[in-house]
């Protein structure tokens, strides 16, 4: 049996579910297209229970939480945290502020520190540079302010100042938002969420990490070439196929 069986059918997505029962059997000889699953034609909303759907709809109806000007500032801060580089786009280009806006409705506890932090930025901008809008400052001026709030205490038990806590929360949300976006997943190099036949780490990885002499363990593991043969055992539980 070809080990590449079934993979294309699985990539077609949910519409092909009925076909999958045969597909996961042994027909198609197709090549895996790792990591590039087709768009799911069935919307995410269908996976929600009625009360979950209502809750999400309420949030969407109340969005945006942040004003247009706050959104612009958040976009800028997101890009300060995760700027564009050779490997990936700037965070703002991946929808992180919309995600953060949704999360402030989903977790109302985020509202106060994020709003308070944005106001703190205005005050800092006025005090240091005579402008009460962080967005009109030069990049150098913006970073001079951010440098004062960008680092957490060395001791994890110590509580940071509110403006440091604000930036830390924002940094977390931007980081999560970016690396769970389509572009961020690609940047990170996540290869999963795609049908495959797991056969252990690649040889070069095993060598690099000094994983050797484990034949006894490996000999017990699945040989995918036999996976379609119906399992049969002797009376003592020894697998015969």
């Amino acid at each position: 049996m070809d080990r590449r069986e079934s993979i294309k059918s699985l990539l077609i997505g949910a519409a092909a579910t009925s076909a999958l029962f045969t597909a996961a059997g042994c027909e198609a000889d197709t090549t895996p297209a790792g990591g590039t699953a087709a768009e799911n034609p069935f919307p995410y909303e269908g996976t929600r229970l009625p009360n979950e759907r209502q809750r999400d709809a309420r949030f969407h109806a109340n969005a945006p939480f942040f004003s247009e000007s706050e959104h612009k500032t958040l976009d800028r801060l997101a890009d300060i945290i995760l700027p564009a580089d050779e490997q990936g786009p700037a965070a703002s280009a991946t929808g992180v502020t919309d995600f953060i806006d949704f999360m402030t409705l989903d977790f109302p506890d985020f509202q106060l520190p994020l709003r308070g932090g944005l106001s703190w930025l205005s005050r800092a901008a006025l005090q240091r540079f005579g402008q009460n809008d962080f967005m009109v400052l030069s990049e150098e001026q913006q970073l001079a302010i951010i440098d004062t709030i960008a680092y957490m205490p060395q001791d994890p038990v110590e509580d940071p100042e509110p403006e440091v806590a604000f930036f830390d929360l924002l940094r977390r949300l931007v980081t999560t938002g970016y690396f769970t976006s389509k572009e961020g997943l690609k940047d990170l190099g996540y290869k999963g969420n795609a049908p495959n036949l797991w056969d252990g780490p690649p040889e070069d990885v095993l060598r690099k990490h000094g994983i050797t002499g484990e034949e006894a363990w490996l000999s017990k593991c699945i040989d995918h070439d036999t996976r379609n043969e119906m399992a049969k055992w002797d009376e003592n539980g020894n697998l015969l196929t």
Binding site: A24, I80, C221
Partner: protein, 568 residues
Amino acid sequence: MEIKKPTKTYDAVIVGSGAGGGMTAKVLAEQGLSVAIVEAGPYFDPADPVTKTQMRWPYESPRRGAGSHRDFGDFNMAWGGWDIEGEPYTQAEGTDFRWFRSRMLGGRTNHWGRISLRFGPDDFRRKDIDGLGANWPVSYEDLKPYYDKVDKLIGVFGTNEGLPNDPDGFFLPPPKPRLHEWYYIKGARKAGVTVIPSRMSMLTKRISKERGLCFYCGQCGRSCMVYADFSSGSCLIFPAQKAGGQIDLFVNCMARSVETGPDGKAKAVSYVNKADRREYQIKGKVIVLAASACSTARILLNSKEGGLGNSSGLIGRYLHDSTGSSMYGFLPDLMDRKRYNEDGVGGMHVYSPWWGDNKKLDFPRGYHIEVWGGQSMPRYGHGFNQAYVQRALGITPGGYGKKYKEELRRIYGAFVGMSGRGESVAQYDNHCDIDPNKVDEWGIPVLRFHYKWTEHERRQAGHMQDTFEEVLTNMGAKILSSKKTAEQDYGLNKPGQIIHEVGTARMGDDPMESVTNSYGRLHEVPNLFITDAATFPSQADKNPTWTIMALAWRTSDHIISELKKMNL
């Protein structure tokens, strides 16, 4: 809306459609009995593309899969959770028990970890060994034929290791370890901790033409659309229906009580149909409760003043969940990893069964260790612990910009964690009863929990923390979750959080010391049976599902045999 009304008397009415209810329905229907299943949640088929969460990307969820509404996150396939709107439970003072319910066909089997462990010979006679709790009225030898049948029917990968209290079985070959699991293997060996391939119910190899094979997406918690993992719907109920079994599903029907006749026999199950909020009764010659340990206790306690079949006073008593404690760290050796798909099966490929000798330790029961980590799919929370990683690496915590972005790439996939899942000692005082002052939205009196861990569990959790620290250190990991102290109960999870609650109607030979006999048959109600984990006198350091199914199969055979003998 059309309301399905029960019209006939069924040979068997089963409450609950999870591991116990599904297995009972399958075995009875295959023997030609007419079966009704009463399930509190809606119909669910993992293959339904509309509700399917498997293979979805984090960005499909507006909260990127956060668990702010659905426990374990948006993609987890449990319709319910620790808190369900309209279906509350209460706590006695000083108790914080967490009760997880999954309201859907198949119940919690749709999302569970598929860790499929047989109890061992010692697990059935713990009182003989340490004087605590109660022995089972059955032995491993009694259950072994049923474990064997469950292995072959459902499919479980693993290896025969000849361990004394972790019996061999009929296994499919396991998947190879992931990279961090190889590190774990080395670290565990060095600490003298046994480590073997996992035993889990995903199909690495074909056992039937009806079910697909694992394609290693690592998402069993979302329930498998090709039926490559075990769930009660895909592996028990649907196949039994396809084979011509008469199984009528009464979904969205919340059982309230068991009705008895003047002869003391069970006659019917009363339930509320959630669609029209009206009360119905469904008649059965045999009634089987498989609603989950606490729901089964609740139904019995609500069936009659003082509880149905409760002369022993033990319904609701001896409630116990597995212990849990965890630690995780960061492996500098795994920085800058080569990227490849290592989703694997949903969960660990290697684990540690209990290796210790409790006679030499200051706590009576053991635990197993589960391992996690690697290049898993990012979801809500990804990167949240970066400050801890930075501190461990001697970098000033925080920061921003290209340097920070690069750090995040470099550490991806370098985390590893360990969780202990241990056996607690069943206590008479740990129990659930009916709160006299509260009902749920269906008008059914709710459960009130009374639960306190003892020194047995705390000391065991302390041993877990010591072991995790040693193994993680052996692996070269920097520990990120600080070691939990005695003041923190060694990180012991709240009772109920491990979702292995058992014991509320324990089995035994003495009717004053138990609620059912070894077949789950109530001592006082001859045609009323229990096939969920309510009957477990003790927990074992193993997940309960495999034993639930072995017992349910044995009980179902017994029901058939008793029906033939006209004893029911």
